[in-house]
Amino acid sequence: MQMNDKAQTTMDVVHRGLARRYRRERLFRRLGLTAVLVSIGFLALLFASIVANGWTAFQQTEILLDIDFAADHFDVDNLARANYSALVKQGLRQLFPDVRGRKDRRRLYRLVSSGAAFLLQKMVMQDTSLIGTRQRVWLPADDEVDMLIKGHISRVGPESQRRLSDRQIAWIDHLTALGRLKKRFNTTFFTAGDSREPELAGIRGAMTGSLLTMLVTLLLSFPMGVAAAVYLEEFAPRTWWTDLIEVNINNLAAVPSIVFGLLGLAFFLDVLGLPRSAPLVGGMVLSLMTLPTIIIASRASLKSVPPSIREAALGIGASRMQVIVHHVLPLAMPGMMTGTIIGMAQALGETAPLLMIGMVAFIVDVPSTLTDPATVLPVQIYLWADAPERAFVERTAAAIMVLLAFLICMNGLAVFLRRRFERRW
């Protein structure tokens, strides 16, 4: 009887507490959910604003001109010297024969990008059979025209405060009516390097620079990081000396990246005399930055390899090196690669240290070797974000979209590798 009573009361106490326990659990769940929703909300906001700003950059207004590549215009031995801008002007004048006077004509010519002549030159140099023919050529419109068509600058208001005069707007409307002025897919954005003219600017140079830099970073930091981690985890005796190294590696991971840039400037450029603005140096600086990340991740994944596997291999007479190469490394590799990719993704988005070593220069040519002057995507974004032209605003956003796409791909790859090679014991 006594026992029964006691059991009864115990259950009562438990039940009384139960409601409170469940209430707490619900509260905790709701808090967590709110936190997740808020962060997703911010992320969505970021993406939405970037996409809204940037998607128009993937189109570019172009003007269709009839170009007369008359033979007497060209000197076969020196095709580069021909007056290509005259061809463009001629094409424009044909469409508007009644525009007279130097001032008006100059205004007319300004509708087409100043890079149009260069494009014609490239066409002719690539295919000399064009000489002596008449061709219909789509040439990029000036960025002001592009902005007008995309609705980013206003058609109304006092003429003196507008970038385009009433007459120019009338010409644009006329061309549109003729079907000679259209928004077309902006291939230039993906094939050209940087330019002062927004309609000629592209991210190819920055993308190549980023790839070259990442290549150097990967080649330097992955083997070095893995080797350092293996040594520290598997070979180094635990002494105050290795403890010191460990503390310092953890410290390095937290050092602001600009410091690595300064180190690169002082050591790689000034002492070693390596070239400025080069992906080689950029990659070296960024690997200083990613090394700690890779070492820490690699050590963690080495630690997570169960000791029973090491013992099994040692127990049948594998040498220390064989245990590591045959068993530990393959099992730790997915974790190491994940860490490396995360480190690389950080490096891909890094700007500050690269500013210090001159990768912020205005570079038109697409780099082709590790020592060519180059810039990288985030620096390109930084440069364009600073440019006054309205057309660079959308290009900035578009470049951010490209960078984000790269980052999403890399992080997706990290998740994929983790899933693919994850092992359970």
């Binding site: 291999a313 040692l314 127990g315 049948i316 007479g317 594998a318 092992r423 014991w425």
Partner: protein, 297 residues
């Protein structure tokens, strides 16, 4: 009566009560030597495979093994029993220098394998561990195929010249481990996908594949169910024809079933060694008797 119960339990023991090899009759072994004051019974044999003298093991400050001296005969099964933490695993791991992997561990004394000091300066642990193989408490197959699990040892030691020779070694080892019937049609599947008992037999097959002289087993059945345990015990009974086996176990019936000699450890000291049947029926040391009759540990 406790002693009578012990006799009943081991009445189906496969071994004769007399240790014929040594020619010593129950209870009439040589008296413990003077320099071996702690151990009673018959720790020494003629023509031993392994000889351990005054072995001391320290983990940092902790003295885990104290002055242990014992011989291990050819083709015998030696069982090591004792309460948890008494140093059985530690001593076992000295026999193939697995303790080298523990930073804080220090071993002193002499351990000879066929007359050669395995802690000698010139001794390489890699071939030593090929000669003295080990099976662990928890089955630990490599996360590789069954075939590769067995073939790994022969591969690293270069025991097979050709693929067919390697195939032969794999088949033989699996047959000896009594696993061939169950796995011969799925050698390419992961060893980790086998049942616990099969995994443990796979680990034994892996140890046999490098043709060791001595096999050390640290509680090989403690993670297995009774049926898998019986299979492994049958396997041990067969293996002792060719190999010297040292087995640590908490299961006294198991020690009685599989071993020829038994060593009882207590707090790092070797208390008593003797023929298994004698230890279980007529322990000489009080500590041994307390442990066997269940009054301790």
């Amino acid at each position: 009566m406790d002693a009578a119960q012990a006799v009943l339990k081991i009445s189906d023991m496969p071994f004769p009560a007399v240790d014929e090899q040594q020619g010593t009759v129950e209870g009439a072994g040589p008296a413990p030597r003077a320099d071996n004051r702690d151990t009673v019974g018959e720790p020494f044999v003629e023509d031993p495979r392994m000889t351990c003298r005054d072995v001391n093991v320290y983990y940092g400050e902790k003295h885990a093994i104290r002055d242990v001296s014992i011989d291990i005969a050819h083709n015998e099964v030696l069982a090591m029993i004792g309460p948890s933490g008494c140093g059985k695993s530690t001593f076992l791991r000295c026999l193939n220098r697995m303790n080298d992997t523990v930073d804080t561990c220090r071993v002193s004394g002499r351990i000879l394998l066929d007359g050669l000091d395995i802690y000698g300066r010139l001794v390489d642990v890699v071939p030593l561990r090929a000669r003295v193989g080990m099976v662990f408490q928890k089955p630990n197959p490599f996360p590789k195929s069954i075939y590769d699990n067995i073939a790994y040892g022969p591969r690293i030691h270069g025991l097979a010249e050709s693929r067919s020779e390697l195939d032969g070694i794999v088949e033989n080892s699996l047959k000896k481990a009594g696993l061939w019937q169950e796995v011969h049609d799925r050698l390419d599947q992961p060893g980790t996908g086998l049942s616990g008992g099969q995994q443990q037999r796979l680990c034994i097959a892996r140890a046999i594949a490098v043709q060791p002289e001595v096999i050390l087993m640290d509680e090989p059945c403690s993670a297995l169910d009774p049926i898998a345990t019986a299979t492994v015990e049958d396997l041990i009974a067969e293996l002792r024809e060719q190999y010297t086996i040292v087995i640590v176990t908490h299961n006294m019936q198991q020690a009685a079933r599989v071993s020829r000699r038994t060593a009882y450890f207590h707090l790092g000291a070797l208390i008593e060694v003797g023929p298994t049947d004698r230890i279980f029926t007529n322990p000489r040391h009080r500590l041994t008797e307390d442990y066997i009759t269940g009054r301790f540990g």
